[in-house]
Symmetry: C2
Subunit: 193 residues, 2 copies
């Protein structure tokens, strides 16, 4: 079982940050997020998530026109912004990634099933990404407020990778946090049958 401090770090005390300390994040640390979050489970190990870490000033300027106005300042300030995307050709790697069955054949010629599987499992991997970053002592600021069309045209012109959400990564400034919103209780969201 995880320690209380561990549960606080990845769930209970962690917050979505909007203000960032002026502390850089090394490429090695960004790679460590991947090396941890890649271990989270996906259906038939399909692993559709792809990530672009937007870090240089030049790359941030390419991202900027796609951002909703309320997301511009915090994203330009963050040490890195991860574009959480998924690959609509993920199934081409299944012969290497899944040994138990010919899983590629489940997807070939089924674009709707491919899209649904990529979106579900890519979103789950995006959640693993957030937890992994927190586990490494980083803070996250995930966002849906941007133009997927503009990001895809700018960063994925070949058309097989699709952006899902953005996630600022760095060391948050707790003084910029709003009060915490409440969560649904067990009885509001669950039942035992």
């Amino acid at each position: 079982m995880l320690s209380d401090e561990g549960m606080d770090l990845i769930f209970r005390e962690a917050r979505t940050h909007k203000g960032w300390q002026d502390t850089p994040v090394s490429d090695t640390l960004l790679q460590s997020i991947w090396d941890l979050c890649k271990m989270g489970p996906t259906s038939a190990n399909c692993s559709p998530m792809r990530v672009v870490f937007v870090k240089s000033q030049e790359a941030k300027e390419r991202l900027k026109p796609a951002l909703m106005e309320g997301n511009v300042t915090k994203t330009m300030q963050a040490p890195a912004t991860a574009i959480i995307a998924h690959d609509l050709e993920f199934h081409e790697k299944l012969p290497e990634l899944f040994q138990q069955a010919d899983a590629r054949s489940w997807f070939e010629g089924k674009p709707k099933f491919i899209e649904e599987t990529a979106f579900r499992n890519g979103s789950m991997q995006g959640a693993y990404f957030i937890i992994a970053a927190r586990a490494l002592g980083l803070d996250c600021g995930p966002m849906s407020g941007f133009s997927k069309e503009k990001v895809d045209a700018e960063f994925f012109p070949e058309g097989t990778w699709k952006s899902n959400f953005l996630c600022n990564v760095g060391y948050g400034d707790p003084s910029k946090l709003p009060p915490r919103d409440r969560r649904l209780t067990f009885d509001e969201a669950c039942w035992i049958a």
Copy 2:
């Protein structure tokens, strides 16, 4: 930063289990999964995930006809099977859940945007669910191999909750595990811009 043991528990050593030890899981422990995973971030705190814990023999029999053949034995054996679902009326709770803006109005009358937001954030919450269960010392067996139509008709006849994936929960039997499949490397799935 999380300890090495913590990273092993939630990511590096955890496995998707197919065989289950004959050890029950209490209702209190199932509620503890919720109390931890509910803290994970969602867009505007929209929190669309809903969970039914299928635990009684009677409820398992109701679930059985919806399962793909390869998922029947392990699911009937598991101490509990969580139906990870999402509520297509999640936005009705936003006036309570998000204080910073009138977020309900972003969704009203936009069924496609509702569905996309529920699917993305519900899948992310499903991933938090898996990590939270592991943090509490449990093992998980998430599955997509079932008929969503049959599960929805049987468990959600009112039509606003939609099943997303299933997740067996309990204490896994390590002797039933297949060899671990490889993951994509950083260079196969990511770049730094």
